[in-house]
Point group: C2
């Protein structure tokens, strides 16, 4: 399908790396060209403008972790069955691309206009998602707790540790990155248990 020259590949790879790290405004076309080891004008040749190059990278970034999230809100199966596999998938993606969460969140924060695009690419219909939440409320989740609060906690526990990786690694794991990763691997099994505990709560808020 996709016909990509070697040069184009190198551009995307360098652009991804630098945009993740320094953000859109913090990265110049020259930076990307230098990192890729090519002439700066080639960026314009392949992607016309910086905006278009960034869009390509942003789309790539979302494609790396959004599908796992979207599925959680979509499936007709009881939410409970999906949780463990979902968590495993999300954490696995985070370990592979640890810089993406902070990158996407910052970009959404500074450019809210992109939100509709994000939601659309997630394939999520907000209305459908909300209806589903309301159905779950008296369904498989035999809990009095608002299922949205569970979802929020679930996503938080999977994604936030990576967004805050440098601090957590330094303060809680003495700067040892292997120890941090090991802890995240453990979370693949741990977070589902935590979520289960949370779902078992009765009458949390009267």
């Amino acid at each position: 399908m996709e016909r990509h020259t070697e040069t184009e590949q190198k551009i995307i790879a360098s652009a991804e790396k630098l945009f993740y790290q320094k953000g859109k405004a913090g990265t110049s076309m020259q930076d990307i060209a230098d990192d890729a080891g090519i002439n700066r004008t080639l960026l314009n040749y392949y992607f016309r403008t910086k905006d278009q190059l960034f869009d390509a990278v942003f789309r790539t970034a979302m494609g790396r972790f959004v599908p796992a999230l979207a599925e959680l809100l979509h499936s007709d199966m009881p939410i409970e069955e999906y949780i463990p596999v979902m968590i495993d998938r999300v954490i696995t993606a985070m370990i592979e691309y640890p810089q993406i969460p902070a990158f996407v969140l910052q970009e959404l924060n500074s450019n809210p206009d992109r939100l509709p695009q994000v939601i659309k690419e997630m394939g999520i219909d907000p209305d459908v998602a909300m209806k589903k939440m309301e159905r779950e409320e008296r369904g498989a989740l035999k809990s009095d707790i608002d299922p949205r609060q569970v979802i929020i906690s679930l996503l938080s526990m999977c994604i936030f540790p990576f967004a805050a990786r440098p601090v957590i690694r330094e303060v809680l794991y003495g700067g040892d990155d292997d120890a941090f990763i090991e802890a995240m691997e453990q979370r693949k099994k741990l977070v589902p248990l935590m979520v289960r505990q949370i779902m078992l709560m009765k009458n949390p808020i009267p």
Copy 2:
């Protein structure tokens, strides 16, 4: 103590607003001057360089929520007693300054050199923090679970919802910001209960 002219105040206020929103590289000195309604060269007069102005803002940002976090790792009292008040304080700070989490996380991500400064200003000694964690392991937390995993989940559940605010608000609350805030208020009571449930887990990982 602090002697600040009105102009200086206006600069800091505008700089805070814009840096939170657009980041350091995404905000020009001109942008800040325009927002503050003053001449651009006054920024240089009061803060010499953009870097120094940004540092001032970054310090301010941390001062707004770091103390509440630092206390969690410091106190000699059993961790369990502190949790509810801690959570309340953190969420309250997040509601007041919702853009700070994504801002600080992105800045730490793109400029890891700042981490030591952050840790120092938190007043945290990582060694002390880790020792404490190990002590708690067989202490007040009567659980087999690694207390660091609890801390991570606790912070995640408090901070992440705000970092991901635009998405969560749109997908889970139909774009209604009041509903989002209301849900966060509920979390002040809800998250402590969730954490308690998590701490009660037995033999989560053999």
